[in-house]
């Protein structure tokens, strides 16, 4: 494939891809996302390929191994288009039946979704309760894309936003659009992306960098991997648009070393983008040059923090620095470096294609667009969901998540991972909104939502989270290294029945000091889960100390 040299050539190529495709031809999309992969979906894919080969149906059915569909709990997932017929918990033995029914245009009844309460069946994706309450703007394309094939992304309109930005908009117009859309960072901070871009653009220096933070170290968060593995070009397109707006010619992708599939898909996407002329010199004939390098985290939580991540890219140990000067002004090699999370970048192409006005019609007053949520813990339907900002947590936990197994009541909903917070069940009608949840002490964070049932011991959860963070502290600053160690010691004593009456006061004092004195966000927010638990579940701590017995 020769490089594309203009917007017209891109549209010509797209038309060519579409004309070679028959929308009526059945396509069997097998989820090969992390959860389904762990449930052996690889064997399901092989079984489909074998069956189609055996019956010489290659011209009548397409098999596609795709990224995460979302409903991990019921994996391996299979979606058949046209019609988006969903089959769940598919085993290799089911494959001949599925193929036979698909070529006849029939539905295989025994594998469709059955409501555990009513026994009602749901055949199409839009009818399955898990999907019905979602707005899948980012992850919805996953079942339609083979992540190893750029053609699939192009067929769905891929890189049209890049072409629009390059040829119809100035860099300032792109930044204005993102600012108007009020796109807020999806990695945890919720900082307006447009403002960050503007800071990087206006910062002195000719060499600037843009970075995808694909570290996703937050336990219980797996939506970025689902999106990046399943649709790598979407993130890449957002990054290239951002680079154009900011005036960066070098980008970095920083991601996990322990997900071979993710790495393979990103490397392939980078190579294909270069081959087609979306990366490299003179992108689409616009005169804009941009390259991307791939870097890995090697198993340290704090390297997801922006300044530590940039240290790591430079080849230094990932230790954060204090940010008197923002990384968007002085980051990698002291140059302006704009870092956004995977999901933030993935939002950019649709904002450019469909406009800020459309984008701001979704969400709440101060939180726009949709948000990917990783649902896990004590929940019936775990997986990756995407909902408009402002969706009540109740909808996510009950309508999408199906509630707590065994009909139990949730005790708490935990958001934001180890630096987030837990809120009690009575606040479950709170909308998913950056500011409202932060005010309650349970910030959205990256989007991990854990449900804890009524048998959960909150003191033990607080201890667990502090243990995690104590182990992950890089040790550079004393308040974090020592403060957390002492808090962990006190909490461990409480869980062992050796709590003292003034322990809660001491924990609060230590939380206050670490909260203000630590160098980076890891330390500053480390006491937050404990704070939220003392705020809402204080009686449990008091009872545990008073009882003097070992926790369950």
């Amino acid at each position: 494939m020769p490089r594309l040299h203009s917007a017209a050539e891109l549209e010509e190529l797209r038309a060519g891809i579409l004309s070679g495709r028959d929308p009526e031809m059945p396509c069997i999309a097998v989820c090969a996302g992390a959860g389904c992969h762990g449930l052996d979906s690889g064997r399901v894919v092989s079984a489909f390929e074998e069956e189609v080969g055996k019956l010489s149906l290659g011209a009548k059915v397409t098999i596609r191994a795709t990224g995460c569909h979302g409903f991990c709990e019921k994996g391996p997932n299979v979606v058949i288009s046209p019609g988006a017929i969903c089959y769940f918990e598919v085993k290799p033995e089911d494959v001949p039946d599925i193929v036979a029914h698909t070529v006849k245009g029939e539905v295989l009844d025994r594998l469709v979704y059955t409501d555990p309460d009513t026994g009602q069946k749901a055949v199409h994706l839009g009818e399955v309760p898990f999907y019905k309450h979602q707005t899948r703007l980012l992850i919805g394309d996953n079942p339609r894309i083979d992540p190893m094939r750029i053609e699939d992304y192009l067929a769905l309109g891929g890189y049209a936003a890049l072409s629009k930005a390059l040829f119809e908009m100035s860099p300032d117009q792109v930044i204005d659009e993102v600012k108007k859309a009020n796109l807020r960072g999806r990695g945890g901070g919720g900082f307006p992306a447009g403002l960050k871009w503007e800071t990087a653009k206006n910062a002195p220096g000719a060499d600037k960098y843009v970075i995808v933070n694909g570290h996703e170290g937050e336990p219980g968060a797996f939506m970025d991997r689902a999106l990046f593995t399943g649709n790598p070009h979407l993130v890449l397109e957002g990054l290239i648009i951002g680079a154009y707006a900011i005036g960066a010619h070098q980008g970095f992708i920083y991601t996990r070393h322990d997900s071979p599939q993710l790495i393979a898909h990103i490397e392939r996407a980078l190579a294909q983008a270069e081959e087609y002329g979306f990366l490299g010199e003179n992108i689409l004939g616009s005169g804009f040059n941009f390259r991307v390098e791939l870097h890995f985290d090697v198993g340290i939580f704090v390297s997801g923090e922006s300044s530590a991540l940039m240290q790591s890219i430079e080849g230094n140990p990932p230790e954060p620095r204090s940010k008197y000067i923002r990384t968007s002004v002085s980051g990698i090699w002291d140059r302006p470096s704009n870092l956004n999370n995977v999901e933030t970048w993935a939002n950019v192409p649709q904002i450019i294609s469909r406009g800020a006005e459309w984008y701001t019609s979704i969400g709440t007053e101060r939180s726009k667009g949709t948000k990917l949520i990783s649902l896990s813990g004590h929940i019936m339907n775990s997986g990756v969901a995407e909902v408009p900002m402002g969706t009540p947590l109740r909808t996510i936990v009950y309508d999408i998540g199906g509630g707590v197994p065994g009909g139990k009541a949730p005790r708490a909903v935990h958001l934001g991972g180890p630096m987030g917070g837990s809120i009690p069940e009575r606040l479950i009608d709170t909308p998913l909104d950056f500011d409202e949840l932060a005010a309650l002490g349970a910030p959205i964070g990256a989007g991990g939502l854990l449900v804890m049932d009524d048998e959960t011991d909150m003191v033990e959860v607080a201890r667990y989270l502090l243990e995690f963070l104590t182990n992950e502290s890089c040790g550079k600053c004393v308040p974090c290294r020592e403060g957390m160690r002492q808090m962990l010691k006190i909490l461990t004593n409480i869980t062992k029945g050796k709590g003292k009456s003034d322990d809660i006061g001491r924990l609060e004092d230590l939380s206050d000091v670490t909260g203000v004195a630590c160098l980076c966000a890891l330390g500053k927010t480390a006491p937050d889960p404990l704070r939220s638990m003392l705020r809402y579940f204080r009686d449990e701590f008091e009872a545990q100390i008073a009882s003097g017995t070992e926790a369950r």
Binding site: G38, G75, E216, G220, V298, I300, G315, P317, S376
Partner: protein
């Protein structure tokens, strides 16, 4: 040790100090640990001081400076797996293979690691053996899984 593979990795990045972490990741994936002699060769080929190589090799948790067993067992102790009983599962695995996290048994059959979330929370708690996920584990199922690895 697969020396030719390691040489190949080093050669690809010869004279590129910026590739240090990348080279170590690739060698770790290929060889499962980083022998001192190999680290010396990396320092020489990439033109970085040996002290720098050691700094990077010791700061990241994934790098191992000691040999690993034939099979690497990873018990996820991420928060979701924790809520679903990872602590009990880890106890059972420790009992079954007789080693603690970070250790390798005397016959070099197993190395045990715990670690943060691998993103497959939906099928937790789980153990991962040589990269293969075994989800929805119970102590009894773990015994069944582990006996297949010799």
């Amino acid at each position: 040790m697969r020396d030719d593979k390691i040489d190949q990795i080093i050669d690809q990045h010869r004279g590129m100090p910026g590739s240090l972490t990348r080279v170590l990741v690739e060698i770790q994936h290929e060889n499962h640990w980083l022998p001192r002699g190999v680290l010396r060769r990396v320092a020489e080929a990439l033109d970085v001081p040996f002290s720098r190589v050691m700094q990077i090799a010791t700061v990241y948790k994934t790098f191992s400076l000691t040999p690993k067993g034939r099979h690497e067992v990873h018990v996820c102790t991420g928060m979701s797996c924790h809520l679903r009983g990872a602590a009990g599962l880890l106890d059972a695995v420790q009992r079954l293979i007789g080693i603690k996290p970070g250790e390798t048994d005397a016959e070099s059959r197993f190395s045990l690691e715990t670690g943060s979330c691998l993103g497959t929370c939906s099928i937790g708690p789980e153990i991962i053996v040589d990269g293969t996920h075994h989800g929805r584990m119970t102590p009894a199922k773990a015994e069944d899984v582990l006996k297949h690895y010799r």
